[in-house]
Symmetry: C4
Subunit: 211 residues, 4 copies
């Protein structure tokens, strides 16, 4: 199965990141969910409905890659499948973070009909793993919101299979999913996306044009 | 009457929530007031004029459901009747929070003439007790401000009797009242409303149209 | 002269308020200055050029009502005379706070040519000492910025002599002066003004009209 | 070489400033870098890729004025040369801070084609070393972003040689460089710039015109 010490360390690391993300205002009203890979088959993930700024080990559980509870009868986040399908899709993904910020919510609705947002001319684009310059274009796809996680995760994975070098996606009115090769990577990506969303929204407001 | 241990626990819980709400900027200049049901007849509520980020047990008092002080001669918040009329109206309400944020203030004035604000396409709508999808419409009524609490509370209760599934209301230029079946529920609702108000205001600004 | 214990208590109270105001972002880059009356002749006031979030007793000094140092050769804030002229003008004033926020700065420039800003329909107007309803109008005068403190303080006091019930003023591109019958009063007023400035600016942005 | 106690003190001072700047949101996703002069030849500077809110002595290294590592094989920030060229240019510069804020990012893009931003009518202009009044104009040059640090630093130094009394510059989509005769000076300047950028952006939004 999994090593209990590894689980405890992982749960504590998730709690620390959760506390940071909540302080930034990116987890209002128990929204958001976070996970970390334990091994090839198992994932530690936040349980459903907890306040993300005050997570304890009890608020983290283990699921397999089909999002079924392992070793407990806790209820994983409704969106656990959005996490596990990413781990299934790419063996290099070690952590997935879903934040729920004002900027991601508003921008995802603004660009909903275009199905994506294009970011360029930001130094911070270098932050995404593999990028070495600001002089490029970063795309983030935007999916319609749905309560059908099977459908939504299938859409996401299908998109990822056809589009390499994607570091996150938005769900309309719902927020950001991003990931990384470690929890630190995923956290850095979340910070970068949220910064870029805030920039892009201000940019839209003073320039006053779409596209 | 009431159990002193229950009162102390409740007062401490209100102080903790108050400290959180004040840190978020939702209780400027001693504004806001908070209450929790102690039993069928009595309510613990913040006294008038205190800084909401630094509440002690001394700053919480007991009132009956007509907002009269019980067991002390402290002065309850001017708006105590807005709390107690809710407890009278619905036996399931266990906590009431009144926040006073910039976004609620500005939006309540913007939509004042419509008497309500309509929210849709937000995942966070699921947060309100009883909702299970984002694919719905949530209404929040907006009442004209008044210093006549008897008149204002009568208006609110009359509205609630004719409109089920209401989770909060706005007073013009004054802020939000929301509630729940527990203090944690009410706090989650307050966080959700304030998040949605901020989203809605940004949404208005980049889309530039009313309705 | 003055009681050293009273000075120490007052200095500590000013430091606590300073730390709060700095945390709110209302004292960037050593801006802002704060004072408290010690007795009919003397005032405790922040010295020049200190970071307002980390004040110690050493950063507070005593001046007389003409803003001259008493009992030390420390240099008072350049704007000490704006404080002392208020204490001279009104024996009831016990504390004066000058905050330097983004919102006050931007609004004071926007309304500069009108010489005042008019606030109405805000519940928070009740916060100013003596007000009992939101159903009123609160005026805040706006003075052109100047490095000539004698000239500027004369203008302010002349205005106050002809206009009763004024609780603060703005200097263009420079920020807010407000006061109260105690330090707690002045702090409550500062919080109320800054909240109202933020509301008014958002209100302007979504309604898009001046006046 | 350099005194280890001086290095340790300097590293701790940089960490303290870094923690403050990160808390303000000016160092998202490991962005930003900070340095302090140790003596005429050597500089303490943050290493590459660290989270700026949690710097330890290990995250600070020594470089010479050509940005080469001294006494360690750590990798300095990619932008170390932007720091060291400033120390070479002006013997009075004792600290350099590069912040990466939303406001600096958005404004630097907005004014990119003009190559500079002009600030006037702000009391806070007095904060920059040598200024004694608000009644003046402060220019901040804006350079196109580049990953070629040799080219970028040559452009900056050439500009500074021809323009006295410059206290900072912007790189498009990338943020602020500012400096001072001490770390405290540089921090005060960073705070002033970031405050002025936020003011200028709000000013643009409510006045709705460029220039």
């Amino acid at each position: 199965m999994y090593d209990i010490n590894l689980f405890n360390q992982t749960a504590d690391a998730i709690s620390t990141v959760g506390s940071y993300l909540a302080t930034r205002g990116w987890a209002p009203a128990t929204s958001g969910n976070y996970s970390c890979r334990l091994n090839e088959q198992l994932v530690a993930i936040t349980v459903s409905g907890k306040s993300k700024g005050e997570l304890t080990r009890d608020d983290i559980m283990v699921v397999d890659l089909s999002a079924k509870a392992v070793g407990s009868n806790k209820k994983p986040s409704d969106e656990a499948m959005l996490h596990t399908s990413l781990y299934q899709h790419d063996a290099q993904i070690a952590a997935v973070l879903h934040t729920h910020s004002v900027y991601a919510t508003v921008l995802s609705r603004y660009y909903a009909s275009m199905g994506q947002m294009r970011l360029e001319n930001y130094e911070l684009l270098k932050v995404f793993s593999g990028n070495t310059t600001h002089d490029m274009e970063v795309l983030i796809p935007i999916f319609a919101n749905s309560q059908d996680m099977q459908y939504l995760s299938a859409q996401v994975i299908d998109y990822l299979k056809h589009n390499p070098n994607i570091h996150g996606y938005l769900i309309v009115g719902h927020g950001l999913y991003t990931w990384g090769k470690s929890l630190a990577d995923a956290k850095r990506h979340a910070e970068a996306w949220e910064f870029l969303f805030e920039c892009e929204l201000l940019h839209l407001k003073i320039n006053g044009v779409l596209l």
